[in-house]
Assembly symmetry: C2
Homo-oligomer: 651 residues x 2
């Protein structure tokens, strides 16, 4: 039998630190952390091939803490190991007692894991439950592309295993044979407000995973032999899940009852808890209490360091890219849908090995199919499971890939929580929502992206720790802008969201037009008012401008806001030159461009009037885009009448 005395000492030492740091912080989840103290110690001190002094090494094994609230155990161990935090440019080494800064305003030891604020041991932000296994899957997919032998240990809670995304990830990992993932289910039997359901018992979780096609090993999560037996098991054709029976609040009886989730001990109880852990040390035999200098030897040396390169992507010329996918005729005719142009750009960008793509069973609608057909090894079909898709993309991005993720804009709503978590962790993912707005027409509101602008704008207006917007939004109106903006997305460091549309539309721009973040195009000059819009509505607006001229003799200008954030001051200035009148058009619910412009107008001195036609009712099916636009009062006659009313009121 192997000697685990060093590790026994370690868990006592870490256990005491966990209790202290949470009490000192006044919050945190010591009971969850204690249930993992053996497993995490086994991983971080012995099994994982990594160097705590180089957390940016993209060749090392990684740990994904899906149940992010258990993070104090990781912080305690990482501080003990002298792990490095900060940025590669400004690294700093933690010391044992830095764990006591948990949750402080100036500490990188956040309440839940987050690499974006300077804790690079983690690849992604977690804490919203059920996302870790997908992230680990993405990391493993990237490692395979890079030909790297890496392991990704993902710790999930038992209560957390109820999240449907875990089932999605289990399928995805089997589909793509991502055996680099080792899933560890921490079955401490308690969730926040109650014992877990029998549906999440160790036996139930094991039975389910077997049905999903996994290998399963059930262990005592506080028994070293069993832990190391499982963690060092040979991995076969199937991915491995370790079902670990653990004790919530291990070693501290005051943290073991049903009501102990997410509650630190009162200061007056810490001494007794420490004494109990010391007594536990005594029981364990050789273990000595308080030995803070214990060093545990890793089983294998860390991998040589590797850093992924960034930027420098090109999609080449539009004509070439369209020809490659059989769309030369569209280029000649200068008519193409934005979704097809996106697909052509993505396919062209795929010449660079760092570009990867995912889609959720609609690649023949989003036109990710061009990439899938030409770069099959870098295309990961996610099937009808959008949550896993977005989180897996976060994993791919963390390993240095640039993942493009597409689905119907409506179906990406399914993953808004995952998108928000990606933003929290500054994940470099690119999202493309097709069939945005109402121009999809006949399929009705269950297939239309309508809340997307409000949601993504709320992220777009928020800044990451490094000051960049948490999200950029791309709003192409034609094939040229869709193509160029797809290329731009690849070269931006950070999350981007592009809206594409179903209908074929004429080119608005010359193929050599350039596009940049913040910019817009003033594509029609006008005198009496200026219409501000984007995407498919640019084409509707053009028809409305003609009708305004014909029917009312009004001269309306047109601005194409092809991306957000946009230089609103410039738009207001143009509006000021057009009798101070701006009419914004959007084929989505409230919360997009109109709000951007009105927010700017409200604190501007120019006194520009801003009116808007935005989708203000839940649409229904109609057989053509024009019929749908008429139903929701966004058709050409509606625009004409709104513009005329604005003009009349200003007279």
């Amino acid at each position: 039998m192997a000697d685990y005395r060093d590790l026994d000492r370690k868990v006592i030492q870490l256990g005491k630190q966990i209790v202290r740091m949470c009490t000192d912080a006044g919050s945190g989840h010591p009971s969850s952390a204690l249930s993992l103290v053996h497993i995490v110690s086994a991983l971080m001190y012995r099994v994982m091939r990594y160097d705590p002094k180089d957390p940016w090494n993209n060749a090392s094994d990684r740990l994904v803490l899906s149940e992010g609230h258990a993070v104090p155990v990781i912080y305690a161990a990482y501080c003990d190991l002298g792990g490095v935090v900060g940025s590669p440019e400004a690294p700093s080494e933690l010391r044992f007692d830095d764990a006591m800064t948990l949750r402080a305003a100036d500490s990188v030891l956040d309440g839940h894991p987050n690499p974006a604020i300077g804790f690079p041991f983690f690849d992604s932000a977690t804490g919203s439950l059920g996302q870790g296994l997908s992230i680990a899957a993405g990391l493993a997919a990237a490692a395979r592309l890079d030909g790297l032998d890496r392991k990704f240990y993902c710790i999930c809670g038992d209560g957390e295993a109820r999240e449907g995304q875990v089932a999605e990830a289990a399928d995805f990992i089997v589909d793509h044979k991502l055996t680099g993932v080792v899933a560890i289910f921490n079955c401490n039997g308690q969730a926040q407000n109650a014992y877990v359901s029998p549906q999440q018992s160790p036996d139930a979780i094991a039975a389910k995973l077997l049905a999903y096609g996994w290998d399963v090993r059930t262990i005592d999560g506080h028994n070293w032999e069993e832990i190391f037996g499982a963690l060092t098991a040979e991995i076969g054709e199937k991915p491995l899940a370790i079902i670990a029976r653990t004790v919530k609040g291990w070693g501290v009886s005051a943290l073991q009852d049903e009501n102990s989730h997410g509650k630190p001990l009162g200061a007056e109880m810490v001494e007794a808890a420490v004494a109990e852990l010391d007594a536990k040390a005594g029981e364990l035999g050789e273990a000595e209490a308080g030995a803070s200098d214990v060093r545990v030897a890793q089983l294998s040396a860390p991998q040589p360091a590797m850093r992924p390169a960034r930027g420098g992507f090109t999609a080449g010329a539009l004509a070439d890219a369209l020809k490659t996918v059989g769309l030369e005729k569209a280029f000649e005719d200068k008519i193409l849908s934005t979704r097809r142009a996106y697909g052509a750009a993505l396919n062209a960008l795929g010449a660079d090995e760092r570009i990867v793509a995912m889609d959720g069973d609609v690649r023949n609608s989003t036109f990710a199919i061009f990439f899938a057909d030409n770069h099959p090894q870098r295309y990961f079909e996610a099937r009808i499971a959008e949550q896993n898709m977005v989180s897996a993309a976060v994993g791919l991005a963390a390993a240095g890939k640039v993942p493009f993720v597409s689905s119907f804009a409506k179906f990406l709503v399914r993953a808004f929580d995952q998108v928000e978590m990606a933003a929290v962790g500054s994940a470099n993912i690119k999202l493309c929502g097709s069939h945005a707005g109402v121009s999809l027409a006949a399929d009705g509101p269950s297939q239309m992206g309508l809340t997307d602008m409000a949601f993504f704008r709320s992220l777009m207006r928020s800044r990451r720790a490094d000051g960049a917007p948490a999200c950029r939004i791309m709003l192409p109106s034609d094939a040229v802008s869709a193509f160029k903006l797809t290329e731009l997305m690849a070269n931006i460091d950070g999350m981007c969201y592009m809206r594409t549309h179903r209908p074929d539309v004429p080119f608005v721009y010359d193929e050599n037009e350039t596009f940049r973040m913040g910019g817009f195009k003033h594509i029609v000059d006008g005198e009496d008012l200026v219409i501000v819009t984007s995407g498919y509505m640019v084409h509707v607006a053009r028809r409305a401008i003609e009708a305004l001229e014909e029917q009312a003799g009004l001269s309306a200008g047109l601005i194409d806001v092809y991306s957000l954030p946009v230089e609103t001051d410039e738009i207001l200035r143009i509006g000021d030159d057009c009798r101070g009148q701006i009419l914004v058009l959007e084929d989505n619910y409230v919360g997009g461009i109109a709000d951007e412009i009105t927010a700017a107008a409200a604190c501007s001195d120019l006194g520009v009037m801003v009116d808007s036609l935005v989708l203000r009712s839940i649409p229904k099916s109609a057989r053509t885009p024009d019929e749908t636009l008429a139903l929701v009062h966004l058709g050409v006659p509606d625009i004409v009448s709104a513009a005329q009313k604005m003009f009349d009121q200003s007279e």
Copy 2:
């Protein structure tokens, strides 16, 4: 062997209609519909106990079409049955050829199922995949509460079974023994862009469901004996799943290849398809082609009609409700968190049997626990699976219950797609997101509701088919408003979302204060500017107003926007009286109250200046709310300086 000649004739007749109606509409999913033609015929003509002339009967069996795109088969059958559509006040009977109005602008036969536009055969809007089984679960839960023997047949696609929500529903149904649900998996082997994964083969789906604790029967979905054997099987302790092997595009070879999803036949191909179906009829023996007057006898009579009552809910007096849950001291001290007041109100409302509640493992944080403890039979613990929770609430609401659904506001983001679908279907659900904004502090951004205002406002500004807002938003600042607004939510017909907060705060209002939709409270008079805010920020604003008076001699007013939509014109008028200066405060990302006010200001003649302090960076942990507010520039000093700057600029 039973005689199925009538049904054989029926499927041919319906098959031909499916082909024709999709071709005529120019879009739709005939291949999916044809794969279900036997199962749907068996259900709608024979097995279901219902009356097509009374689709509002809340005692009848129901069909939930989770794979909403297959709806042409339902429309064809319902039209053939002379089913009733419209509203109970204005019912109208369909005729066979009304199926040809599929997807037309003025038809109730929308692209995907939606009761809100007048197709009451369905209980909810579907089409965003994976939600039906949860909806059926909610319907079954309501039926059990009502003591009604009802069956809920839910048809899911095989590709759709990949959605994690299906796994969540499978757990939920077992947890709550909702054996009124019969799940039917339509295994036609094809999704949109490819054959389904082996993970969604009939065998794999069966193995998984067995592991989830279901009974499983696998059948040939085009064999009457097997279909009726399964549909009329005795249900035991476990819920029943029927795994039906089917043929996509049954009967029409042109619709059977891998590329036929979501595509109608060209007009020139219809004749051949009809001939093929006629030939199929010949093969079946007795069946006669074109027999449009075939009538199939139901196995059982429909249940007597039942209509749930609406409205008339009361929570009683605040003092009493707080006392009931042991909070009399809080009432005396006039200090209580909004989340506790919500819980007390919900518990008091629970005196009415129509009120039901759900929570996702955090009832001791949201304080749904008061209801759970006192009305356990009407409390449905959803565990850590928010998507299923929201869709199950849709089912409960469809059966006449008034479900209150609570979780952390952040965790409800997980169900935004389900929320949006609930809005599409005008579901009468009440959502409460606790720990909204940044006042949660130490737990960090993975636990804070920050994108919620943008999302729910985008729904709030959209109108349902009946003209009402698709969502109302409740923003209580204290226990009194939280209590009264919870009562108001119960009495509103339609979706409501309430934000509550973690910290205890002093009462702002007298216990007899009244609240109404559209209203706001002008709680502090001021002369130099007016601050507009809600929720926890009301308390921060009060401190800022004191500091402004002390430090700068400025007199600032305060408006508490306790709900949205709000009468913005009135707020602008008050701003006009305060030197035309409004400062909006929000502890969420862009997209909430500030945008409401600026949108109103931008098309107002008053020339009021609107500035705002809104969360413009991704927060991190800090140990107290004030520390967090300081990190995100929303603290008292930030408000003072913003107000002062506004004032200085106006001088």
